[in-house]
Symmetry: D2
Subunit: 412 residues, 4 copies
Amino acid sequence: MKNPEHIAAFIETRQQSIALCEPLLVEDYCLQGAAFASPPKWHLAHTTWFFETFILIPFASHYTPQNPAFSVLFNSYYNGIGAQHPRDQRGLLSRPTLDEVLAYRERVDQALLQLIKDADATSQETIEERLVLGVEHERQHQELFFTDIKYSLNANPLYPAYSSVHPEPAAQGAPASWLKYPGGLVEIGHQGQGFNFDNELPRHQSYLQPYELCSRLVTNAEYQEFVDAGGYQNAELWLADGWSTLQTEKWRAPLYWLERDGQALEYSLYGLKQRLPENPVCHVSGYEAEAYARWIGARLPTEQEWETAAQGQPATRGLDDAHYHPRPAPADAGINQLYGDCWQWTRSAYTPYPGYQASAGAIGEYNGKFMSNQWVLRGSSCVTKDSQARSSYRNFFYPQDRWQFSGIRLAR
Amino acid sequence: MKNPEHIAAFIETRQQSIALCEPLLVEDYCLQGAAFASPPKWHLAHTTWFFETFILIPFASHYTPQNPAFSVLFNSYYNGIGAQHPRDQRGLLSRPTLDEVLAYRERVDQALLQLIKDADATSQETIEERLVLGVEHERQHQELFFTDIKYSLNANPLYPAYSSVHPEPAAQGAPASWLKYPGGLVEIGHQGQGFNFDNELPRHQSYLQPYELCSRLVTNAEYQEFVDAGGYQNAELWLADGWSTLQTEKWRAPLYWLERDGQALEYSLYGLKQRLPENPVCHVSGYEAEAYARWIGARLPTEQEWETAAQGQPATRGLDDAHYHPRPAPADAGINQLYGDCWQWTRSAYTPYPGYQASAGAIGEYNGKFMSNQWVLRGSSCVTKDSQARSSYRNFFYPQDRWQFSGIRLAR
Amino acid sequence: MKNPEHIAAFIETRQQSIALCEPLLVEDYCLQGAAFASPPKWHLAHTTWFFETFILIPFASHYTPQNPAFSVLFNSYYNGIGAQHPRDQRGLLSRPTLDEVLAYRERVDQALLQLIKDADATSQETIEERLVLGVEHERQHQELFFTDIKYSLNANPLYPAYSSVHPEPAAQGAPASWLKYPGGLVEIGHQGQGFNFDNELPRHQSYLQPYELCSRLVTNAEYQEFVDAGGYQNAELWLADGWSTLQTEKWRAPLYWLERDGQALEYSLYGLKQRLPENPVCHVSGYEAEAYARWIGARLPTEQEWETAAQGQPATRGLDDAHYHPRPAPADAGINQLYGDCWQWTRSAYTPYPGYQASAGAIGEYNGKFMSNQWVLRGSSCVTKDSQARSSYRNFFYPQDRWQFSGIRLAR
Amino acid sequence: MKNPEHIAAFIETRQQSIALCEPLLVEDYCLQGAAFASPPKWHLAHTTWFFETFILIPFASHYTPQNPAFSVLFNSYYNGIGAQHPRDQRGLLSRPTLDEVLAYRERVDQALLQLIKDADATSQETIEERLVLGVEHERQHQELFFTDIKYSLNANPLYPAYSSVHPEPAAQGAPASWLKYPGGLVEIGHQGQGFNFDNELPRHQSYLQPYELCSRLVTNAEYQEFVDAGGYQNAELWLADGWSTLQTEKWRAPLYWLERDGQALEYSLYGLKQRLPENPVCHVSGYEAEAYARWIGARLPTEQEWETAAQGQPATRGLDDAHYHPRPAPADAGINQLYGDCWQWTRSAYTPYPGYQASAGAIGEYNGKFMSNQWVLRGSSCVTKDSQARSSYRNFFYPQDRWQFSGIRLAR
């Protein structure tokens, strides 16, 4: 392996996935609160299947798959690999049991570490590339683990907490200001040696008008004003599809907001808690973000605007802090909360960059085939590893999705 | 308590519910394969809630409910008691955990036994009535436990077995014959001292034409001929609603039948097994039963015909045998397989007997409110306790339901 | 033809179908307000198809069908004949045009009258049987014409009237009384020479408890009390499936009831009109009828009870009066409103009589295949021809259906 | 009125809408084959409502609306105006009749022409602006008239023709070639004095890579190869949402393609006809266009690429030719079929241009609120007026939509 740090990252990531699940009880590992919210056990198995499918099976000649059925059960959406267990039935897989899945992880890890030692030179490069991709993939699933279990636990009227230790937020929030950016001909897309997904390429030029970004994210208190002003009752503020969704889903506030006995609460990974006014509003859909921006007389940034402003800014405040909830903005000068609190909806549809080529084979299904109907989110959240956050990273979800840690950065 | 055997039955039934679950792993207790197939843990909690709600809360003045939320979580359908957790989301209740539910059971049992000792004379009669009803209710849920976990485990492509011990069937099947019954003015409905549900009353006269019943249930081999003859492709054999369901659900054979590599298999509580030709066909809907009967030139019996033929016949072959699958008919003279193999669809809609009165209060919701759109099934199955089976017992399901152990008795 | 009156009835019925449509505009002939509410033009064509399919094609050797496509377009549900145009798309058939359909009617009528003259002796009997059936069939569709166009016109916020001439009701309503019937062994089913459908046979004995029927139908004023008392908010009054339907469909009153500016209105074939308190409540589902009966401390009759009481009673007040809305009960002694105002929901599920045999061939699909999930209604309505009404007639609809002229007769 | 040509255009357009309907029969005017395919009569009334609502009601002080109910019945989606009749029930409005709608048109036209004479100077400018917008709006609905009635007539198995006169296509098709464009910093968006919609503004700079466009549209013969090669069975060619739609909708070919007795047919406004190999493939969704491009090793253009190539090219071959079907490409040098055959799917999501501002008030709902989940189509079709076609025009539909005249222009 050219870069031995990749092996260390592999080992650490594989261990961390299990460690993150530790506050759960066995009963929680199969929970699937919606088709899109996969059970913890499924995440543990699927990330393992990824290494088995894309590295062990093609390169480890003596490796026999743990169980032929796993090829279907833990295939998420790779048509190039074969059939997939229906996504909305992942919660019905009481078997393999948790212990069996942990044994599956162990067996694949051992085989993989052995392969890394044994592989011939011609295979080494691809193995290393896929190892890195598999680690990044598993880190994405660590974030999904949090968003999914939050959604699934919230389906229980007892509002169980993922963690009972709720650290107090240090900061008290900060006033917002508008930061000016000149626009012009800019460069967009990944560059340099670090890891990137294929959808961040090719790096290319783009022309921007001058623009301004808000120095921090929209807060709960600010969003509350929108709610109180009848924002959810006024069709003129909404995109047509957003208004239609609002009515079908009976949206009246962000996901996880709850009023009880006159108290403003929200469900968090720490259970049902007071809703802090100075915290960034979180778990809003793209439609809600867009409607809020229109109401306040601003707009959402494009992904090019966001990336240009973020180039060179450090990623902090993420999963490594082990604070599983967004926190108030610091009072630092310049642009804040780019990373580590909430993903930020952009007004950009998720489409291919000019000259984009998906990777060959089934791995090419990772990103490219989702390039319709989704919106780009930029930044990272409190449950993203900082090492994974970068200015060129393109996250994407449907504009109606709310279960990610998604918030609002204003532009104008 | 007038009849101390009721206390013994209570204790035995409460213990048996837990014992029946023992082959399961913790992961299995939350499985809900469909809205109608409740998780084992929910059955354990709901039956406990029944005793708590209908006996402890009204009669045990010092009793405090285990958890106010349980009143909603474990209420099945009693509008008179209050709101209900959505039926299709019972599988999302990872909490309370299995241990907590077992502790809930223990606490309610102790409080109930104490109440029986302490209750004043005026309450004793109602408490005893409800204790008996609660025991019968729990036995019904023991049967549902089997049908539901079978359905839910079958949703897993690994086809896990409830029990790995598969006793070989002793009998080799028996030829069928037609038994004649004279009809005339008969008496229908429960009589005597034993327990009965309100829907078995009042006992009343009914007039029947002379009729014949088949001496045993339709076998897999016989039903296979119907399948092979294109029974599932011929609209003229089906009730209109049945044909419509067949097309929507893509029915091509009974639930749990599977052809694999040219082998005739079926999923059972023992896993995926050979389908024995001489076994009674099981897990057919009322529509399939009715279409088969039409195809073979017969019909389904009415519930009055079935009950008249069954009066005085003993109930055997049920859950006490611990054989969780129907078995071939014995070669005994007379009518066979009335009990202990498969419930038998009748052609009777589930409607009230003349003069029927539902019990007062929320307990009256037990049976009466379901008297539309469902069909009556008679007899009992391999997972019914023999002591619960009787000739006047009216089971009822929608004609499209297939997940019960339901088979076919022909009439003409 | 043995009975030349059958020819006269054929000619008169064929003409009447067209006459009944006369108040409509061309635009109205394609209206289909719901899958179950067929357009007038479709009724005109389908009844013609019936004669063409079941008489001309099998018996008139030189007859060529008007258009091979009509075999599919105007087949309602006869699988034995072949495929059917989707029921919910009948309103999309702008072609054949109204004129073409009228020409189709004329051509089939002429061919049929010629066939009657020409047919050989061996065919005559079947032709006559089917002619009579076709006439009865068309009269049923004349009634459906009214219920369907009422439903479809009501979908228009302009509330167009079928007829602008609204005759004033003569009577002022009458008090209700209970009439006693002894029950015992009764005879049920059609007898005598008149026409009957196969589902009215065989005539058979049935045993009834003594019972009482109300002398007239439940009025709007009486039903209003149920509404005002919160009947639509009280789950305990309803069958479980009825309560579920009520919630899904947001029922708060009978179909066509409307409150506007404090006025009690209802949509009728005369447009939006005052709702007369003394008129019988109409357009209620079986669930509403059943819930009302429970609320008032009564019940719905069984079909056997109704038929026994109706035997020998004359049918009047029907379509021949050309009053397309129910009227207040007359103050006559004895049982009133059996016929000519509203069909009366019974508590009987629509199941086969003992020994029932459907007719052979596709004609056998007329009644038998609908014998599940539906309830029997007895009597007739203001848009039924009196000559078609009889005590043994079994009408049937789903308990959730409300678009027929269906009302409530109480029993106890 | 500053520009009297606007009055002439108004009069001509209003007359043409009626003239285009002339081949229809009265029965056809209410046809609504799907929620998205409005009936001809509704188009005639809605375009009238537009003038009444946005000009007469605010500016003509003595004008009384034809019928207050029309405000709801013929409001398409303007929440700022008020409630809307449900879109999927437009086909149920047999009233107002066709004659009444024509009278409504006449009355509004007269009032409008009178207002133009009478209006004071301060109102004139807005009235003229809205008159022009109303004319453009009605021309859009003339195109929708064709696409909608084609869809609705196709729902009839008789495949009625809109027009029985089918002019033979003159050209025989032409070979395709790749045309090179340099890209760089280009200007996008409307400029000049002609009419434009708000979504074409503001004109702005955009940076493009060098690119190539195909000289003509993809033909039926070329697309047939994709079908024959299993394009509809190969998930790897499709966007994930496209593949999902393909499976749900059972797509196997473009809308209106039909194989019958070994013949390649397609439904057209001339009825069911031979499918010409050299005609451009039409009525494909964006997903199909995108999958075809991937399969052939190309891609769809962005809207910026298309617009840059089209700047300065004349619009021809449209509705004025009265040829209601796409035709083979001419063999002219340079880029062909930009206009007048099929709209061309781009790979661009429909999002706001930098600095976009929707018009104020309810008119601002015209375009802006649809800027999510839709794709941009460019060019025009055989049923677009040439005078309406221009290089900056942004048409938009959901990527799953197929009932427009939409085809494929390749890029790379």
